[in-house]
């Protein structure tokens, strides 16, 4: 799997160096919204790696090498995970540096919120990767946008109507615990589903 990761990193870094640079620059902007965007943008990188694989028809060659379907599929999750965690770690340093000048040191709340965003990023990847593997980068991208709109609009409506009080009342620790558990369970299910979908392509 290490070989697959190296290939994906070379492909994406070569072709998306400015996009990645923008992601890292965004983490320097004070406040949390840009940082959230930066991490969410990082979740798009496995999508790009899949698109490049499709363009070069890499899967045809990979099927001849000692890679299992699990290796090929799981490598995309690992790549996505490393990207979002990498951006999050970099964001800590970036915000700490910015904090020196703005006299706003990093607080426990910052790290809790960052962890929450990370869980959200993992959940996005858990949704997008099976779609990309099933439908390919082109159609999968459309499916992801539609799904994210539905989730976004649906989630916002839900929060505005009923759940806002529940979230306000909920302890942040409990919320984090729920988010971590949801990300872990969804990731496990998503990986299994993606492997099954990839295997299905062998028909």
């Amino acid at each position: 799997m290490k070989g697959l990761l190296i290939k994906d990193f070379y492909s994406t870094l070569r072709q998306l160096k400015y996009f990645i640079l923008v992601i890292f620059l965004m983490t320097f902007i004070p406040g949390f919204s840009m940082l959230t965007f930066a991490i969410v943008y990082a979740t798009m990188l496995p999508m790009t790696a899949i698109a490049y694989d499709e363009r070069s028809k890499w899967d045809k060659l990979a099927a001849m090498m000692p890679y299992s379907s699990a290796d090929i599929t799981f490598s995309k999750y690992v790549m996505g995970g490393l990207m979002v965690v990498g951006v999050a770690i970099f964001a800590c340093f970036a915000q700490a540096i910015v904090g020196i000048f703005t006299r706003t040191p990093l607080t426990g709340m910052f790290f809790a919120k960052l962890l929450l965003v990370l869980c959200f990023a993992f959940i996005i990847e858990d949704i997008e990767l099976p779609l990309l593997i099933r439908f390919g980068a082109e159609k999968g991208r459309i499916a992801i946008v539609l799904l994210l709109v539905v989730i976004g609009v649906g989630g916002a409506t839900l929060i505005e109507s009923t759940s806002v009080l529940l979230f306000q009342a909920m302890d942040l620790g409990l919320l984090l615990l729920i988010a971590l558990a949801a990300a872990a369970v969804l990731t496990a299910l998503s990986v299994l589903l993606s492997i099954k979908l990839y295997e299905g392509k062998k028909e």
Binding site: I6, R14, Y52, S56, K57, K60, L61, M64, M65, P66
Partner: protein
């Protein structure tokens, strides 16, 4: 031992069926898999490598069932070159070395760079800027640099100029100097196969027409060129395929089933295949 053993292998698509394929590639030999476009050569190779699922039949490669768990590890010993190179286009030869070093346990970096040098392939040039000839030579370099015992090549020489093809065929010949090294080479360029193969397997419309030693094939068949009236005296059983023109009849015959009074020419593999495929014999 056979490097490849295929038994009753079948695969059906909407518009194509590979039908009960049986073939053996003995260890240490080169087998040419020949057939028209769409005959089932690539499907056979994908099935051998377990890249697609067979509907029926079995495949053993280097003594291992290709559906077993051990086959994944065995792929270390199989070098594959497909009809295109399929490496990510932004990678260069140095990057590919790093990828392959972390893919194949047997990866031989020294051998890889010596192949790059032998083929005059640039180390830093991105793959997208390679010509087709360079791409195929690069794919062959990669396939040979993890010390495989079996090489499988799917139309690896198609679209290349004769000089490069010849150079590549020499490499395959060198590869089989080691007695446990074997090659399965699919191509529709019959002259390439005739040059280097020990065995020829002919696939036609998803069916195996024959799989025989090349020298046996050349011994077994003869080529007749006769007038229509003279041809009537040729035993019907001996005729494997014929072509009737305004000038007479050209026919592929079983050499031993035709009286010695008929002058026979030695056919090439291409003649044998064309007459067999034409199916005008009966």
């Amino acid at each position: 031992m056979n490097a490849i053993e295929v038994r009753g292998l079948s695969k059906t698509y909407d518009d194509f069926r590979l039908d009960k394929l049986d073939l053996n590639l003995p260890e240490g030999c080169i087998m040419g898999l020949v057939g028209e476009n769409g005959a089932g050569k690539s499907t056979t190779i994908k099935l051998i490598m377990n890249a697609i699922r067979a509907d029926a039949g079995s495949v053993a490669v280097l003594g291992e069932d290709n559906r077993g768990k051990a086959f994944l590890k065995l792929k270390e010993d199989i070098g594959v070159v497909l009809d295109e190179a399929y490496f990510p286009e932004v990678l260069n030869a140095v990057n590919v070395n790093l990828v392959m070093r972390n893919t194949f346990m047997n990866w031989d970096e020294k051998k890889y760079y010596s192949f790059l040098e032998r083929f005059s392939l640039p180390e830093k040039k991105q793959f997208k800027d390679f010509s087709r000839g360079m791409k195929m030579k690069f794919a062959i370099s990669v396939a040979l640099s993890h010390n495989p015992r079996l090489l499988i090549l799917d139309e690896a020489t198609s679209g290349l100029d004769p000089m490069i093809r010849d150079e590549i065929l020499d490499i395959f010949n060198d590869f089989t100097r080691e007695e446990n090294h074997s090659v399965l080479l699919s191509s529709h360029i019959v002259s390439d196969l005739e040059k280097i193969c020990d065995y020829i397997a002919f696939l036609h419309k998803g069916k195996l027409v024959f799989c025989e030693e090349k020298d046996m094939l050349l011994e077994k068949y003869g080529l007749l060129r006769l007038s229509k009236s003279d041809f009537e005296a040729v035993p019907e059983k001996a005729v494997m395929g014929k072509k009737v023109t305004g000038y007479g009849v050209e026919a592929l015959v079983l050499r031993d089933a035709v009286p010695a009074s008929f002058p026979q020419e030695r056919p090439g593999i291409e003649d044998i295949i064309l007459f067999m495929a034409r199916g005008e014999n009966k």
